[in-house]
Symmetry: C2
Subunit: 160 residues, 2 copies
């Protein structure tokens, strides 16, 4: 098709936000596809974002709400889904009659283990592609940039 080749191939955006977005989306798509291929068909990106805030030994639902950047109702709905899938379970908090403790089921913990090995595989591919040094520099810069919910939550202390 000559017509296609005639078209100006206009450059895509090349600012930090665009690059981060593309890289993030690509990573998530790769990870989610591998998780589903590994038998965890319930795995979605929204759920992944929440699971990232649930420690292996569980967390109080209220604390989870604080850490996630979304509303408590959204957290609840995601938890409802994960609970229905048998990935997490909610138990009453013995310390606080109002509270719930969110923890992983055996199925959930198995998924975490699979997830860990998939992460390593992806990371290995990234290192192959851009080299160990550049990869280290990438992680280093992202760590020091230190955006995200933890950094935002620290503002409660108002040290600045």
């Amino acid at each position: 098709m000559v017509k296609e080749l005639d078209e100006k191939t206009e450059a895509l955006p090349d600012h930090i936000g665009w690059r981060l977005w593309q890289a993030s989306r690509a990573w998530q798509a790769e990870f989610a596809a591998a998780m589903r291929a590994a038998g965890h068909g319930w795995f979605t990106e929204a759920r992944a974002g929440l699971l990232g805030h649930i420690a292996r030994d569980g967390i109080r639902q209220a604390a989870l709400i604080d850490r996630s950047a979304i509303s408590k109702q959204a957290v609840q709905q995601l938890l409802d889904g994960l609970e229905a899938e048998g990935v997490v379970q909610r138990l009453p908090d013995p310390q606080d009659g109002r509270g719930k403790l969110v923890g992983y089921t055996r199925k959930g913990l198995a998924a975490l283990r699979d997830g860990d090995s998939i992460k390593l595989q992806i990371e290995r591919r990234y290192v192959e592609r851009i080299g160990q040094q550049r990869f280290a520099a990438l992680m280093d810069a992202l760590r020091i940039l230190d955006v995200g919910p933890a950094a935002a939550a620290d503002k409660d202390t108002e040290v600045q």
Copy 2:
């Protein structure tokens, strides 16, 4: 609250995917907030993702669909919204009776200009935070990683 301090502050994930996701979300939230503050109340992250693929001199809707990672119906719905907001316009393609050409209105072009200056402001803050060298290394690594739709689309040509 002593009880809070007693709780183990379990570490958040620290792999490349998590860091990219956090950084990407933070950038997008910052950018979208600044755009809305600049009077572009119609600006959302989903729309931003699509606009990133629309060159200043327009694009055929079919080409836009190819570049975006979403379904053609999703593209259409986003375009419907952007057209209703007066940001883009769709004109019949004189070369192809089936096709449409998507282009910016004056309002859309003005938003692009504001967006450019906001991007520069955010980038300046990032450089202040992590230093010029680290920022350059970050961009360098992300560019060479070269994930995203353009990389995928280039596979059609099979130059590799």
